[in-house]
Amino acid sequence: MILLPCPYCGLRNASEFRYVGELSERPDPNATGIEDWRAFLYMRDNPAGWTTETWFHRAGCRRHFVVERHTVTNEVRDSRLPAAQLRDREDERATGGNVADDRGGATY
């Protein structure tokens, strides 16, 4: 079972989390035609390689966070808070230490 690096709790078993999905920006519902809205709803990049996605630590801190994962090897790197939160806090770090900013990612 892979481990996911929760920015709050550290590495935890993947079974504690819910996969939310590929990271995608929600379009402005008032400025978006229905076709583009549906592209947002249904279309996926679904790459075989690195992807950026949101996870939810359901059985732990109940926080959403963003990681990069390689969909073939399931390696994980670059765990961080959702962009909206980071923007909101103007680059304030969530916790010390464990929000990886290098590309090395978790070794374990």
Binding site: C9, N13, R58, G60
Partner: protein, 213 residues
Amino acid sequence: MAEAAPVARSPISPAPPVTVEHGWEVSTRRSGADPRIMDCTPLAKVLVLASADGEVARALGVPYGRAAHDEHGTLVVGSGPGEWLLLAPPGTGAAVAGRVEEVPDEGLVSVFDATHGRALMRITGTRAADLLAKVCGIDLSEEVTPDGAAFRSSVAKLVTDVVRDDRDGERSYLLHCERSSGQYLFDTLLDAGHEFGIEIEGFAAAEAQGGRG
């Protein structure tokens, strides 16, 4: 409207013999077994939500992942980012909540008495960690979860707050979960402890021995 004084009940049916103390129906069973399990649901459980770096956080003094007893004897648990669980003697919930509410904090602060919404139990003994390792995937070693460590994880597929809170040098864990599954968790721990000879110890019995819950 002279009603009988209401009796509070834990979701975990008490092992006989039973008495009522502090308005709660509790077991008076005694046991010195290693390990032993106790239903501590009558303890006051106060939940605090506040900014992780505000005044309330400073006043409570423990970060997420740690637990410590404050000067009032309340066990303050950093149960989540910006989230605390305060455990105190039965009936003291309002007082505990009041103390937190007095702290001036610029951010949004919410204080709940969650006594009724949660179940709380404790397993104690040298084999407590072995027992817990059967139902919980977190590393229970001294290096990773020493005394005073707190975490939330899945215990027997149930989201549970676990606090390592040793008693008189003896390994002990508090387990705190949503009330309706309290009986499930208690039964599961009993089953897991069976091979070690686990016994139930009543809440009242602990009181009598001076150790609170």
